[in-house]
C-alpha cells in the first residue's frame, strides 16, 4: 500500500509542477516586499515602484528597530498622518521622546488598537500618542482584504500568515499585474505603466527609524511655482460647494466598544494622547451625535475636530492632493492648536467659520 501511496505522491508532485514555478517566482521576485522585507523599504534605486502596503512596512520597521530605538511615542492614522512629523511633534511632547510613525494605508480603528496591543506585546510603552483620523476611520472596524490595506499578520487576529500571503500571491497572479510586471522587468518603467496606476516613479524620502515619509518631489514643485502646482491639478481639486457635508450617524455598538477599548489601552499605558480629526478637503464631518460619543469617551481635552468647512479645509493650498493628504505646514498649525500654543485660534473659533 505504501509503495502505491509513494507513487501517487510523486506523481502529484510532478502534476503540481506549475505551482512550484509560480510560487518560486513569487518568493524569489517578491514584488510586494512581503516575503523577505528589508530596510529601507523606500529606496530610489529599487526598480520596483509598486504601491506597497504601508501598514505592513510600518509593522516591519517597528519590529526591526524597536529594541534599539526604544520607542515611547507614536503617531497613528492613515496616510493623512504623513504631514504630522516627528520633529515638529517632539516640540510639544519633549525632545527626548522616541517617536515612531505607526501608520497604515486607509487605517482602521481596530488597526490602531491592534498596533497598540502589539507595541505592548513587544514590551514597549505608549507614553505619547497622536491619532490622526478622517471621520470615517472611527467606523472602520475590520481589515480590508486588499494588498494595500491588509494588516500585518503579526498584529491582527483577523487573519493568519497563510491568508496574508495568499492575498499577495493571488495579486501576483493577476493578469494585468503580471503582464505589466514582466514588461517592466524586461523593458523598464514606462509612462504607460505609471498611467495604469500599478507603478509609480516617485519614491518618497524615508526615515528608517521614525518610519516617516516626506515628499521632496511635491515640495520641489511647490517651491518652484506653487500656483502652477495647483493649476496643473485644477480639475482634481475642483469643488463646487463650500458647505460641510455632515455624515449620517454611523457608529455601531461595535464601534463604541472599540472606542472604549482604545481608551482602556491608553489608561493602561498612562498615555498622554490627542486625537485629531483631520480637516478633509471634501468638507465631510461627523454628525453631532457621533462626535458627542467620541467626546464622552475620550474627553474634549483629548479630541480635536477640524473636519467640516473651515479655513483649513477650504484652502487647497493646505493639501498635496484632493484626497486631503496634508502639507506639513497645515499639520504644524493644527498641532500648535492641539497642544495649546495658539491662544486665539481655538476650536470654537474654527467652528464659527
Amino acid at each position: 500500500m505504501w509503495k502505491k501511496i509513494r507513487i501517487l505522491v510523486l506523481k502529484c508532485l510532478v502534476a503540481i509542477f506549475p505551482i512550484y514555478i509560480i510560487f518560486g517566482a513569487y518568493v524569489y521576485l517578491d514584488p510586494f516586499r512581503v516575503v523577505h522585507p528589508s530596510d529601507p523599504f523606500f529606496d530610489a534605486k529599487d526598480p520596483m515602484h509598486i504601491g506597497w502596503n504601508k501598514g505592513f512596512i510600518s509593522t516591519e520597521a517597528f519590529k526591526n528597530h524597536h529594541q534599539t530605538e526604544q520607542y515611547d511615542s507614536y503617531i497613528f492614522g492613515s496616510s493623512l498622518s504623513i504631514g504630522y512629523q516627528a520633529e515638529e511633534w517632539s516640540k510639544y511632547i519633549g525632545k527626548s521622546a522616541k517617536i515612531f510613525h505607526f501608520d497604515g494605508s486607509t487605517e482602521s480603528f481596530t488597526g490602531i488598537i491592534e498596533k497598540i496591543r502589539y507595541i505592548n506585546k513587544c514590551g514597549e510603552a505608549v507614553k505619547n500618542a497622536l491619532i490622526v483620523a478622517d471621520p470615517a476611520l472611527f467606523a472602520r472596524d475590520d481589515d480590508k482584504k486588499s494588498h494595500l490595506f491588509a494588516q500585518h499578520p503579526d498584529i491582527t487576529p483577523q487573519w493568519d500568515f497563510i491568508q496574508f500571503h495568499w492575498l499577495f500571491f493571488k495579486l501576483f497572479m493577476n493578469r494585468e499585474f503580471l503582464t505589466n510586471y514582466i514588461d517592466m522587468r524586461i523593458n523598464g518603467l514606462t509612462p504607460e505603466m505609471i498611467a495604469a496606476g500599478i507603478f509609480t516613479k516617485e519614491i518618497p524620502d524615508y526615515d528608517i527609524k521614525t518610519n516617516e515619509e516626506k515628499y521632496p518631489f511635491y515640495e520641489k514643485e511647490l517651491a518652484e511655482n506653487e500656483e502652477q502646482y495647483y493649476a496643473k491639478r485644477d480639475t482634481l481639486f475642483a469643488r463646487n460647494y463650500t458647505d460641510a457635508i455632515v455624515l449620517t450617524p454611523m457608529f455601531t455598538e461595535t464601534n463604541v466598544k472599540n472606542f472604549k477599548a482604545l481608551k482602556e489601552l491608553f489608561d493602561h499605558n498612562s498615555t498622554n494622547y490627542k486625537i485629531i480629526i483631520h480637516p478633509m478637503y471634501k468638507l465631510n464631518t461627523l454628525c453631532n451625535k457621533d462626535r458627542d460619543i467620541l467626546y464622552n469617551i475620550f474627553g474634549k481635552e483629548n479630541l480635536y475636530d477640524f473636519s467640516g468647512a473651515n479655513k483649513y479645509s477650504l484652502n487647497k493650498h493646505n493639501y498635496y492632493d484632493q484626497n486631503s493628504h496634508p502639507r506639513p505646514e497645515l499639520c504644524n498649525k493644527l498641532m500648535k492648536i492641539v497642544y495649546g500654543q495658539y491662544s486665539t485660534d481655538s476650536i470654537n473659533s474654527l467652528k464659527s467659520l
Binding site: K4, K145, K170, M173, N174
Partner: protein
Amino acid sequence: MLFNSVQFALFFIIIFFVYWSLNKRLKAQNIFLVLASWFFYGYWDWRFLFLIIFTSATSYFSGILIENSKTKSSAKAWMWSNIAINLVILGFFKYFNFFTGNLIAIANSIGWHLDEFTLNIILPIGISFYTFQAISYSIDVYKQKIPATRNIWAFFGFVAFFPQLIAGPIERAGDLLSQIEKKRTFDYDNAVVGLRQILWGLFKKAVVADTCAHYADLITLNPEFYAGSSLIVGVILIHFQYYGDYSGYSDIAVGLGRLLGINLTANFRFPMFSRSFNEFWQRWNITLMRWFRDYIYIPLGGSHCSKPRHLFNILMVFVVSGLWHGANWAFVLWGIINALLVFPAVILGIKPKKTVPVLKEIPSMIFVILVMSFVSIVMKLQSFDLVVNYFSLMSFDSGQWFIATGKTPFLFIIPMLFIEWYGRRNNFALEKLPFKTPVRYAIYWILIIAIIYGCEYDTQPYLYFQF
C-alpha cells in the same frame, strides 16, 4: 476551512497519511476519522459540535431501539421519536424565525396584534445535510432495509464524514455506513481518479463559479445600473455560478472520499446537457432529489395514483425542496415554478431520456439552460419584490450583452462545457483521460494554472453551506 483553501489542503494531507497508517486497525482508523471530521466541523464553530454529536447519538440509539422493538408499533414510535428530535432541532435553527414571522403576520391580519418576536439564531453549517442522513437511517432501519449498526464510531463517522458533511452528497447508511464498517483498502486507480475529480471540482468552483459570482453579484445587487440585456446575461451567470459551486463542491467531496477509500454517490451528472426539465432534476443534486423521492414522494403515493394526486406529490416534493433550501417564501415560489416546469412532461407521460446527449439535441439543452437560469434568479434574490424589479428592468435594448470591464466569465464557462461534453459518458468530465502521459500532465497543468490564474476574486463560501 473551505475546500479551496490552503488550510484545508494542509489539513487533508495530514489526515490522509495518518488515516492510512491506521489501516490495519479499523476501529482506530474510524475513531480518527470521526475526530478529524469533528475537528473539521468545529473549525467553523465548535459550539455546534455538541449538536452533531447529539444528533448522531440519538440516531444511533434509536436504530438499536427500533431493531430491538418487540412490536411494529413500538418500532414505529422509536422511529418517529428520532425523526421528531431531528426535525425539532432543524426547525428551531432553520425555521423558527420564518414560522414565528408568518404566524404573527397571520395573527395581525385577523386583528390579533402580536409583537414581533424573532431570535438571533445562527444556522449551524451543514445541519440540513446531516439531519437528513440521520433521519433516513432511522427510516431505513425501521423498514428493515438495513440492520441497525452496533458500531458507534462507524455510525458517528457516517453522520460526520467530513468530505460530505457540510454540503453533501447526502448519503444513505446502506451506501456509506456499510463502507465505514468494513476495512478499506487503498486503491491506486481510484485515488488517481479522485485527484482528477478534485482538480475538476476546484476548477468549477474556484474559476467558473467564483468568476460568475463576481459578475452576478454586481448585476443583481444594482440591476438599475446595467443595460437590460446585461441583466439577461446576469441570470445565465447565476445559473452557472450555482452549477459550478454545487457540482464543484460535490466533485471535490467525492474525490476526497475516493482518496480515503470511500466511494460517495455522484451528485451531479452533467445537468447542463439535460434535454427536458424532468431530466434536469435527475441530473442535478441527485442525492437530495433521491432523498425526497424515497422519503416524501413515494410515501405520498408516488406515481401509483391518480394523475392529479401524482401532480400534487410532485408539487409537494418541490415545495419541500424549496423550503429545504431556505426558510423564505421565495424558495417556496422557486419550488412551485420548478414543479410547474415538470408538469407538462408528467401529464403527457414523457419520460426523461436515458440516452447520452448528442449534438442535434443542443437546442433543447440550451432551452433548458435558459429557462433554469431565469428560475435561479428567484433563489439568488430571495425576494418577490427584487425579482419583479429585476425582470422589469430586463430588455433586449442596447445589445450591450457583456459587461465591458474585466475578464468575461464565458472565457471559463465555454471551455468547461466543451470538456464536460467530451466526458459526458463518464461519471465526471475527467474520469477517463485516454491520452499519453505528457498530454495528461499538460491538461493537469493547464487546469492548475487556470485555478491559480482565474482565482482572482475573493474566495466565495460554498453556496450550499447556507442550506
